[in-house]
Symmetry: C2
Amino acid sequence: MKVVALAGGVGGAKLVAGLAKILPEDQLFIVVNTGDDFDYLNLKISPDLDTICYTLAGLANPETGWGQRDETWVTYDTVDRLGGPSWFKLGDRDLGTHLIRTQMLRQGKRLSEITRDFCQKWGVIHPVYPMSDDPIRTIVHTQTGEALGFQEYFVHQACQPAVKSFEFKGFETAKPIPAVLDGIRDADIIIFAPSNPWVSIDPILSVAGYRKEISKKPVLAISPIIGGKAVKGPAAKMYAELGFNPTAATIANHYQDLLSGFVLDNIDYLEKQKIERWRIIAFETNILMQDEQDRIRLAEEVIRFGEMILNRSY
Amino acid sequence: MKVVALAGGVGGAKLVAGLAKILPEDQLFIVVNTGDDFDYLNLKISPDLDTICYTLAGLANPETGWGQRDETWVTYDTVDRLGGPSWFKLGDRDLGTHLIRTQMLRQGKRLSEITRDFCQKWGVIHPVYPMSDDPIRTIVHTQTGEALGFQEYFVHQACQPAVKSFEFKGFETAKPIPAVLDGIRDADIIIFAPSNPWVSIDPILSVAGYRKEISKKPVLAISPIIGGKAVKGPAAKMYAELGFNPTAATIANHYQDLLSGFVLDNIDYLEKQKIERWRIIAFETNILMQDEQDRIRLAEEVIRFGEMILNRSY
């Protein structure tokens, strides 16, 4: 069974890492949100791509989910002491990634090429692609009328401003990556990892052609919300601010017309009936991934659920 | 007595640090070569400025003379592992300086402002100025017809190519810094630190107006060559390749029309007579600076020598 997984950062990375443990490299193709990418200290930073790749490479910091393990902060502290910006924490190891990516981008290399090159050096065998080689930037419009770059909202302002809407700046002109289109066309099933729908999965779906190709395939999504709370990040807060009840069913409804299956937590079993009314097959299990065993177990359950959906579909 | 010191990197920094120990901040004004500045990993690097400032701040690495003490190399190693350039060693602490300088330059700040800001944060009380806020780049033309940026020649190719000539690219259009011109006009004496004449002092003298103002003042130079050898760097090798005998007298001759006094090592006492024939007062002492005591002792001797020259001049 060939799988294409769409993912954002930490939550998505956990499931993708589980899938990578059980699927060979020709059966798992990973497409990552780059709407969070930004410039900081004149460096080109791709937070979700790095989180996914570091996690797959076994380099990720297990405490934070982002950044590298055994990280040091010498440059960060020096920058801070010189009065530089310090709201985005860049570790010394992590910084090496950004310096080289920035240099390669300035030399005219594509983000997808650079990511492939890094993955090779890090021993990541599964294909990992940015959603586009062209910039698409997630802008958070707040209820007070501000327009914030995603990291400005997410890290600098710690998700404090109430959101009004989202904009994916540049999506109209950003080109899809041919290999990603091929990957989707070639897939048996598409998996939306347990990432934020508004700012992780929707930006990917905004790229010309992806949504259309994905809509031809069975899609299953894993809820990033458990018991009305986001496992990590502002998804629940965003839904509440936008006037939705932040539940698993709300997530399923978000993707409604695309979904064949939806995986939610046992705790949310009461939502199941509602979701199935939308002709989405719901599957409940323990979806909280606290360690590697959880990731592999959930990945196995998701794949079995996918197989069941495929057998029903055809 | 008001002193303006012109300096390049390591050798110049040692004397300047000695002078800074014995002269208050309104009696020592330091002008630094920026012909070695270059872009590396998209960072704006000013090797001589940093060496001078780190040395004055007590942050310099005592082993190398360049870079910071207690340095770590985490980012450097990561860059190396990702296949990035590794010929120029950037420590984690040092990198903080370059990141902030690069950001401030891109924001439109002048190198002299940035240097003043850094000095304030580092506790450097004496004024330290780059020779210009505009780029002047020292190009080494080799005997095989290559044109190498200075760091490419100096670090990457380890001074191996034989030199034919030097070019200070951009000097025709680079503007002098008004504060430097004022400093020179205001000075009682100008000191050329024991730096490479070709690639440390000459670039400074190439800036419009400096040479003219300096020529109105008593100037004394300290030899960077002892017993036919450069204490550090390629000065002796350059002279030999250009067809000169690399001696203290050759250095004095290099600056001939500007010099009132010249400080050479005891070992080179035989050169003294030759130098004085050019109407330059020569003073011999131990000019090798191996520790802080040496720096202070030499600085004191240089200042006393300067006072003697001033008394003779007027």
